[in-house]
Symmetry: C2
Subunit: 133 residues, 2 copies
DNA sequence: CCCGCGCTACGAAGATCTTCGTTGACGCTA
DNA sequence: TAGCGTCAACGAAGATCTTCGTAGCGCGGG
């Protein structure tokens, strides 16, 4: 075996993340799909999106199905996994690795709904109980 | 009035954030101070740190006291404020603006101590009660 | 069979980030 | 006062990110 990629999937840039968001939301999409979804909010040109997605393919952020004339792209990492990565990254770089600090900051600055607060509380319960981990 | 700077303080880059961390930790520091604090963990040269801090001064990320021969730098934004900014940014870019999603992710992936969990719970109480915010 | 349209590929340009070598100024000390 | 060490300033180089213009290809309609 020598096929194991050592490259741990780089951190997506801002523009790349915008594209990933579209892919997660729509599922496998062509460049045109993504372009149309993005051009609504941003003013990027078609070839710009295309180029970015080509680069993302090289980086391993997305995988490409070339069997169709219009290639179909899919996010390689799940949304969850990417969020985890970005979050862990920020936590290390700006919060000294403390998830609690990060969480406290997030909550006090950006209030969540009552329902969401309940969800968080539920998770807390779970964490405290199955503290074994 | 025309003196109001429209520039809202740019998002610090990775290398800049590393420097800011030192400034927050040590308080006002010279380039050498920062360099020594950083070179322990990273292998950056003195002039590299200097250049970065000069750029950060231009960007308004730090302020510089030039009254001494060795200029003394201070972080312009508080650590808290910067954390807030970075967090809000990430929330928008990767979590669809939902702080709850972000928090749930953070907690389930990066467990906090019991004490920290208590703190979070306390904040939740506070948020739910004095919901007036 | 030929044209035009949509799509990918390529390459280049400009911006920003990161790194560092070099230079010149300053002040202490022998 | 001459020399040495420390410091800021500058400029340049290489990497990465972002944006497009342009070219080339293949398919379907006329």
């Amino acid at each position: 075996m020598a096929e194991k990629k050592a490259t741990p999937t780089p951190r997506p840039t801002d523009a790349e993340l915008a594209i990933l968001n579209v892919l997660w939301q729509r599922g496998p999409s062509t460049v045109r799909d993504v372009y149309e979804a993005l051009s609504a909010s941003q003013g990027t040109g078609y070839t710009t999106v295309l180029k970015l997605m080509q680069i993302m393919t090289e980086k391993g952020l997305v995988v490409r199905d070339e069997s169709q004339r219009a290639h179909v792209y899919t996010a390689k990492q799940s949304e969850r996994r990417t969020q985890r990565q970005l979050l862990g990254d920020l936590m290390d770089r700006a919060f000294g690795g403390s998830s609690a600090k990060l969480v406290l900051n997030a909550l006090s600055d950006h209030p969540a709904s009552a329902q969401e607060l309940r969800n968080i509380r539920a998770l807390l319960d779970q964490l405290e109980k199955g503290d074994a981990r």
